[in-house]
């Protein structure tokens, strides 16, 4: 049977009554021992009988047509089995949640590095060398590679808003800032490169891949190949990081599937690291004009965010730059505008916290500038502008602990020791400064199903095609079921990452734990109802503890209630009207202490604190790690990460991990994270909200604000590399 819930009303706090103390506890990840011993097996690590290796071939033009692929140039090489270029190839990965094939075809080239063929050979070395040797002829067309000068620019309706009169409000206000910030292209750069092994059994395809959202990926792969989704099974039990780059089916999966079918044997295609940079999603660069005006009390009267981003022709995704700005602060005169430049660059898509990750870099620095202009403490300015109702739609907010996070963070971090005037603290060559920023990330719920089986031996199994990409799904679902069924968590197993299991929402948009967790919760509620019926009490009376059921004055070991065999129940959660009736988001506050070198402009983050409230915390340990990870992404955004494009052909110049600078261990201090207790009844039946992207949202702005406080240099062009800081430092 299925226990179904459509989220049309705030839900009671059932999980506050189960009282097991399991859910929320900082338990170790159950799959941890496998991961630390190298026994967790990732996509490319299966050795199938008679498997061949494929290596993708990239386009070396920015725009045009493939005229000829000279197969003969490599076919005679040792071990080479096939050179395949097929009209079903993907131009770029599917956007997250597409559920259908993206633009297909290997003949039309839209960006430098686009996969246009795959060379398959008996071994990896043979395939790679042959792929590098393949001769390709092109008909080159003129490309648009610069978002600032692109000839085609769209203005999507959903990204435009004009409320009141922003120009007049700016003109009338005693305090105003009108500033432009830019953020660069970034790359997810998960540690595991995109990889697929395709194996056909008659009409049925099994793909061992590294993917985040299997329900959608199955549909995308089937649609790409022109086959029924019923005939596709995807397995992704372990995923070596995704961060958005593995949301949609990617070129290597389709290439492997076509090659495997053509050759009648399993084919593995692993993207080289350079191909991951060139051929999977990038985060769009942004240029953002922020306008803020405040009255004498520091209350916003105007707020504007107008941005330009870019993407390939034919992609409906555009970076939702202003996503958090809409709901975060008040101000009756508002203007939002977006331009999407159509460029011949790697496809733009979701990268960890699309929208907030870049939009808040600009907004939260501009707020720092306004605080200085208004002579207000930056925390005070933010607190004065927390709106009572959504400033555009007028709807109410669900649980929102922003002010408490700001206050708690200030207390813990020693904010009162900060001098509002920059450049006041020096230790040798180093200038020390403090900065802060708000954290906010819109909360989303997604349809989810999960199956729970309670066995007579007192063990339980929870199953869904949901993935754990490092997010803690294995730990969280296990704890949730243990909490609901009164079992120690060691007695619960979570089985994930297989499309034969009930479809989950996938890992993306921070909705995974709440959505899948709610589905598992509903399944457990169904089982509790069955147990109550067997015991002879009501579900409300039922108490489960250590494998024993009690209700009223009745009491029985679970095994006695399961004499007919295991109880199986599916939970099915569907988002409902609470999504529209409440403005829902996770909130927090970031604090950073930096040291800026007065000689070189180098910046080091010395301390960092995040205080967050995201509804019910399901596992404090994995939640903390998610926030820490996000905050480090903020450090990367603030200081080091930037994809560079050649100004002439737009190719990605720094397409490896030596020159695309993700933060290394020494870039990162011990990061402190604190959670405030919160329940969000409007979010989902387990009262939790998203946490995977909250840590990055605003984090980089706290660092850049701290740089300003340290040395008085306001960098408005991310990242704040030493050359940009240096330009504002006094002569030595």
């Amino acid at each position: 049977m299925t226990t179904y819930l459509k989220m049309d009303a705030p839900q009671p706090r059932h999980l506050d009554e189960t009282a097991q103390g399991v859910l929320g506890a900082p338990q170790d990840r159950p799959e941890g021992p496998l991961k630390v011993s190298g026994r967790a097996v990732y996509a490319a690590e299966h050795e199938l009988d008679n498997m061949a290796d494929g290596f993708l071939v990239r386009a070396t033009i920015s725009k045009g047509r493939v005229v000829r692929i000279d197969e003969a140039s490599v076919k005679a090489m040792p071990g080479v089995l096939a050179v395949i270029s097929d009209e079903r190839f993907l131009r770029n990965p599917a956007q997250g949640g597409a559920g259908a094939a993206p633009v297909q075809g290997a003949a039309e080239v839209a960006y430098f590095g686009q996969p246009i063929a795959v060379v398959v050979a008996e071994t990896f070395e043979q395939a790679r060398h042959a792929a590098r040797s393949l001769k390709v002829e092109y008909a080159v067309e003129e490309a648009d590679v610069d978002p600032e000068t692109a000839s085609k620019v769209d203005t999507p309706d959903r990204r435009q808003l004009d409320q009141g009169d922003i120009a007049a409000a700016m003109g009338d206000a005693p305090h105003a800032v009108d500033v432009t910030y830019t953020t660069p292209v970034q790359s997810s750069a998960p540690m595991e490169p995109h990889a697929s092994i395709a194996e056909w059994d008659g009409d049925r395809l099994i793909l061992r891949g590294s993917y985040q959202m299997l329900k959608f990926n199955r549909a995308e792969l089937a649609d790409s190949l022109g086959i029924s989704a019923q005939n596709v099974r995807i397995l992704s039990p372990y995923v070596g990081g995704g961060f958005g780059s593995k949301l949609g089916i990617a070129p290597e999966a389709v290439a492997a599937s076509i090659a495997a079918q053509e050759l009648g044997r399993p084919v593995r295609v692993v993207m080289a690291r350079q191909q991951v940079f060139e051929g999977t999603m990038r985060r769009s660069e942004t240029r953002q004009r922020i306008r803020l005006a405040a009255d004498t009390e520091g209350r916003l009267t105007a707020l504007g965010q107008e941005d330009r981003v870019s993407n390939l022709v034919g992609e409906s995704f555009s970076e939702p730059t202003a996503q958090a700005t809409h709901f975060l602060y008040g101000g009756e005169n508002r203007r939002f505008k977006q331009e999407v430049a159509r460029v011949n660059r790697t496809c733009a898509g979701s990268v960890r916290a699309p929208g907030e990750a870049v939009g808040m870099l600009a907004l939260e620095c501009a707020m720092d500038e306004l605080a200085e202009a208004a002579g207000l403490d930056p925390i005070e300015l933010r607190k004065r502008n927390i709106p009572d109702l959504h400033p555009e739609s007028g709807i109410q907010y669900s649980a929102r602990s922003l002010a408490a996070c700001l206050d708690e963070g200030a207390r813990r971090f020693g904010w009162s020791e900060r001098s509002p005037e920059p450049g006041q603290r020096r230790e040798g060559e180093w200038l020390i400064g403090l900065g802060m920023a708000t954290a906010a990330r819109a909360n989303v719920l997604s349809e989810a199903q999960a199956r729970v089986t309670l066995h007579p031996d007192g063990t339980a199994l929870v199953e869904t095609d949901m993935t754990d990409i490092g997010t803690g799904t294995y730990a969280v679902l296990r704890q949730l079921v243990a909490e609901m069924l009164g079992l120690p968590s060691e007695k619960v197993e979570a089985r994930l990452g297989d499309t034969d299991l009930p479809p989950g929402p996938g890992s993306g948009g921070s909705w995974g734990a709440s959505s899948s967790g709610s589905a598992a919760f509903l399944a457990c509620r169904g089982i509790r109802q069955m147990l109550a019926t067997k015991l002879g009490c009501t579900a409300d009376e039922l108490r489960l503890q250590d494998g024993t059921a009690t209700g009223g004055n009745l009491r029985a070991p679970l095994a006695d209630l399961l004499t007919d065999g295991p109880m199986v129940e599916e939970g099915h959660l569907v988002p409902g009207t609470t999504a529209k009736e409440f403005s829902q988001a996770s909130y927090g506050a970031h604090f950073a202490e930096v040291a800026v070198n007065a000689t070189t402009g180098e910046t080091r983050v010395r301390r960092m604190l995040g205080v967050f409230a995201a509804g019910r915390i399901l596992n404090e340990k994995t939640a903390r790690s998610q926030c820490q990870g996000g905050m480090v992404w903020g450090i990367g955004a603030a200081l080091t990460e930037e994809i560079a494009h050649d100004p002439r052909d737009g190719h990605i110049v720094n397409r490896d991990l030596a020159e695309y600078h993700v933060p290394v261990n020494l870039d990162v201090p011990q990061i402190e994270v604190a959670f405030l207790d919160e329940r969000d009844d409007a979010a989902c039946p387990i009262q939790s909200k998203g946490i995977g992207e909250l840590g990055i949202s605003g984090a980089g702005a706290a660092v850049v604000n701290a740089i300003y406080n340290a040395c008085g240099v306001r960098v408005r062009e991310y990242p704040a590399t030493l050359d940009k800081v240096l330009a504002g430092l006094p002569a030595l």
Binding site: R29, V36, Y238, G240, G241, G470, T622
Partner: protein, 171 residues
Amino acid sequence: MEITLDINGDRQVLDLDPRTSLLDALRHHLGLTGSKKGCDHGQCGACTILVNGRRINSCLTLAAMHEDDEITTIEGIGRPGHLAPLQEGFVRHDGFQCGYCTPGQIMSATAMIEEAREGWPSYVSPSLEGDIELSDEEIAERMSGNLCRCAAYTGIVQAIREAAETREAAE
């Protein structure tokens, strides 16, 4: 060409293309997939293993160059139920999320602790001479060859600090 390798105490005879990296020999020819390929160019550290007790990037060396060497991979350090203290520390401190860089982190840290005990200085050591105290900054500098995109660096440093202290106390 025929190559004999000594891996985790076992002699393995392989027939390999001379181009085969030590990493690919482990992963694809010996089924030892604990060593990970993150970049294949020595830029991420996920493939870190020990050769004669020293940590190296196994992607940037040829299998053919390591006959007569003693090779240790993550599979030779501990297994579920019998984890090494450092591995247990990584679990307890959540020094990983997706797990892909983790074997490399652990192999790197295993050797790094010994390097510090031998008195090897680092770029952040205040003095080039004398004993090394593994402060958080020392650990971070010495572990900067192992990228973690999940950015579990806080837990990684905690797990290594604890293992180094335990190792010290055991002397």
